[in-house]
Amino acid sequence: MSMFDIWLGILQGLGITLEVTAYGLVFAVPFALVFGVAQFVTTGWTRFLVTAIIEFWRSSAVVVLLFVFYYVLPVMGVTLSALTVSALVLGLNTGGYASQAVRAGLQSLPAGQREAGMALGLTRPAILVLIELPQALVAMSPTFVNNLIQLVKATSLVSLVTLTDMTFRAKEISQTEYDPVAIYSALLLAFFAVCYPIALAGRWLEARVNPHKGAQRGI
């Protein structure tokens, strides 16, 4: 098998990798928005509850979380496909991280923004949606790009719950071909080909959103 065949073989798993990523975003984006905003606007016990849910998804090890949900849900009588469980776990884990960016973005806005909205007679939800969120989300967009890269990389885990993503294909090929150097280099390169363009897009965004940062270089 030539290097090129190995590459093609691994790329057959690209579809699943992208599918899990896209499906994961379906969970991650709403979770990050709802819980990030909730942590910002609530107080007292409600805030404690919101924080606890975020911390569960964010502070758990994602590897363990995936296995727990994969094996425990059926015992509880909930049968989901491996794809759904993976998207749910990886998505909500990423959503947990992104929710902190949403909250931090909202907190870092000057109070004058909200006060100006109040002076105009806007309601609290209107201030949030029309004034605060647009600014916070733009300011935090480079962080969201990093979260997306983390999600793409975490999809390699679905190979452990029987989905035939790129990592799974690499292992399949290595069962018939003894050429670990070519196979696993190709796997790393395949992920690099997917993630690096996203990282470059993130840097471009960062330069646009924070033009003053990054100019300094010492030593």
Partner: protein, 219 residues
């Protein structure tokens, strides 16, 4: 076959027994990643061809999943006749993966030191190495302590990846129980709760140390 709470409780001692391997992997990987990351950052700052190569290597590491790196090291090293234990390979993999992130932490830590420090060192005709060791590094340590602590927690949450290489850390031990008893839900749930608890405890400790450093910095 529901969730058997008594069985779950009976697996706790065995899984907690593996906490030493989990913590050992965490600490050694963090030290390895710090040493490698700092070296990368110094080479990158040196510029030239080595600087450019390391800059690309850091981007490459950050664009590829840790699981792919673990497989790469685990299968490629024996191909070249290097036979190491799974634990050693796992620690090497985590060190390499997180060095890409810690290099960025060290970069930010060094960038934050006022330029006058370096100019003062040069006017005292200190060598480049002495400037680095006696002027830059000590001041950098305070800047990097907080992000380094956060990565310590991240590395802790990445150690269950080593179970995939059959390292007997906490998740690995949970899988051992599962394959002996054909019951997956209980040991995995226990491992999940233990990992979450451990991550929260370590994160709390890191936060406390961070607050102390901040307080001593203000004095």
């Amino acid at each position: 076959m529901g969730f058997n709470l008594d069985f779950a409780l009976s697996t706790i001692p065995t899984i907690i027994g593996a906490i030493r391997a989990t913590l050992l992997a965490t600490v050694l990987s963090c030290l390895g990643a710090s040493a490698l990351g700092f070296t990368f950052e110094i080479i990158r700052r040196g510029g030239g061809a080595p600087g450019l190569a390391v800059r690309f290597l850091i981007d490459f590491i950050r664009s590829t999943p840790v699981l792919a790196w673990l497989y790469f090291l685990y299968f490629v090293m024996p191909f070249y006749g290097i036979r190491l234990g799974a634990m050693t390979v796992g620690i090497m993999g985590l060190s390499l993966y997180y060095s890409g992130y810690l290099a960025e932490v060290f970069k930010a830590g060094i960038d934050a030191i006022p330029k006058g420090q370096q100019e003062a060192a040069r006017s005292l005709s200190l060598s480049r190495r002495d400037t680095l060791v006696f002027v830059i590094a000590p001041q950098m340590l305070r800047n990097v302590a907080a992000p380094l602590g956060n990565y310590l927690v991240s590395i802790l949450k990445a150690t269950p990846y080593l179970a995939i290489l059959a390292v007997p850390e906490m998740l690995g031990r949970a899988f051992d129980i599962a394959s002996e008893t054909y019951r997956y839900a209980e040991p995995l749930t226990v491992a999940g709760i233990l990992f979450l608890a451990l991550a929260l405890i370590v994160a709390y400790g890191v936060k406390r140390i961070e607050q102390r450093l901040l307080a001593s910095g203000r004095r």
